[in-house]
């Protein structure tokens, strides 16, 4: 049986869509959170988590063969915050795809620590993570991607970026007459908004 527990403070609605073995959750949080996800055999979790200036812990246990999780975390950061993620591949052929995107608005600290553990004998595991933090000002951001792999027959990738929006990209957009603030909004939407938010929620999230 699949399970998702949110131990603390998820604000607003949690949208849950179930389709056979696949469960999609869409939710927002504006205070620190503590999330536990347990996926059993063949089950698939897709999470769209929107965080407003908050941090917390996310623990993902892939407990059955072919279980998978695709976690999209998108945050606008204002104060010092840390998101700590722990993924345990506890069975064969399990899959984790993690996308942690943040926009550090002020001169504060945003940290993503993403630990993925693949113990021995967990063959056929796929573990991918892509983490990005865009600093608007001179914020201090950290991405700590840790892959603890103790088995040869696995596929593991990670990509990280910390910095401002690409100047070449901004130049390209400006040649089409777009102003700096419009470019920033479009790029932010592209970075942070994935699925499940109404137009009002999108606006409120981006404007935060």
């Amino acid at each position: 049986m699949n399970k998702m527990e949110v131990k603390e403070k998820i604000k607003g609605k949690v949208v849950k869509k179930e389709q056979a073995q696949k469960v999609t959750y869409i939710f927002q949080s504006d205070e620190d959170f503590d999330i536990l996800i347990e996926a059993s055999k063949g089950q698939e979790f897709v999470i769209y988590h929107y965080g407003k200036d908050c941090g917390g812990k996310i623990k993902i246990l892939l407990k059955g063969e072919d279980a998978s999780v695709c976690y999209h975390y998108n945050t606008v950061n204002i104060h010092d915050n840390q998101v700590q993620v722990e993924v345990l591949h506890q069975d064969k052929n399990t899959i984790s795809n993690l996308y942690f995107h943040g926009y550090n608005r002020e001169e504060n600290k945003l940290t993503f620590q993403v630990d993925v553990v693949i113990p021995k004998k967990m063959v056929g595991v796929k573990a991918n993570q892509e983490n990005r933090i865009y600093n608007r000002k001179n914020g201090i951001s950290f991405i700590l991607p840790n892959l603890y792999v103790d088995e040869y027959d696995v596929e593991a990738n990670h990509a990280s970026y910390i910095g401002p929006f690409d100047n070449e990209l901004k130049f390209y957009m400006k040649t089409r007459g777009l102003r700096e603030d419009v470019i920033e909004r479009l790029l932010l939407e592209g970075l942070l908004i994935k699925e499940g938010l109404t137009e009002e929620e999108k606006l409120s999230f981006i404007e935060s």
Binding site: Y172, K174, R176
Partner: protein
Amino acid sequence: MLEIKELNVITTDIGKEILKDFSLSIQEGEIHAIMGPNGTGKSTLSKVIFHHPAYQITKGKMTFEGVDITDKETDEIGRMGLFLCMQDPLVIEGVTTSDFLREALYEKTKERVDLYHFVKEIGTGVKKLSLDENVIHQALNQGLSGGEKKKSEILQMLLLKPKFIILDELDSGLDVDSLKEVCKIINEYLKENPKTAVLMITHYSRILEYIHPLFVHKMVDGKIVETGDFHLAHKIEMEGYQVVEKTLGEADE
């Protein structure tokens, strides 16, 4: 329409001289082509016109329709009706072609585009260019081949209706059939908008068979060294650029 007078340009980082007393005058409805070897400053010129931050103008002046654009911001120049069809268009992750173009149109006209007409117009452009219909809803240029990216640039051109078009190496990445198709669409646009001027930047004369320039300029070492008509392009194709470079070298000595 576009006047560039004795422009001197250096790179912002190390101060390398790129354009030296560069002058060019393009009137309404004229088509010009600049040809030159690699590293001579052709593509830089297109970026300089749009004030790319990597380049600094140290001397000279640029005007568009009588307005001094030497110190204007890139986005202001874009809104004035200049359009740069890039050599290697970038992917804008998460921003759909449709959203991008609607925002660009709003910025230009300050009027929200009527959705029905926008969808119709973009749909017509996509069909004309034989692009996949889904391209409208996908992130701009994401997953497109080199040739499709060039077509996506032309799609933007059709929607934004510029008065001045810079085509930077349009033929790179396009196969012969696609190049013919794209040039045909550009020619149709120019027929419908006869005041629109074009500046083509190219290595080869092949594209000039499809979009006929009134003037061809040979550019070497940051400046125009010869101007002629279409025949100059053939001469360059036959003789190459080395003859000119050698002549310049001798003159320097």
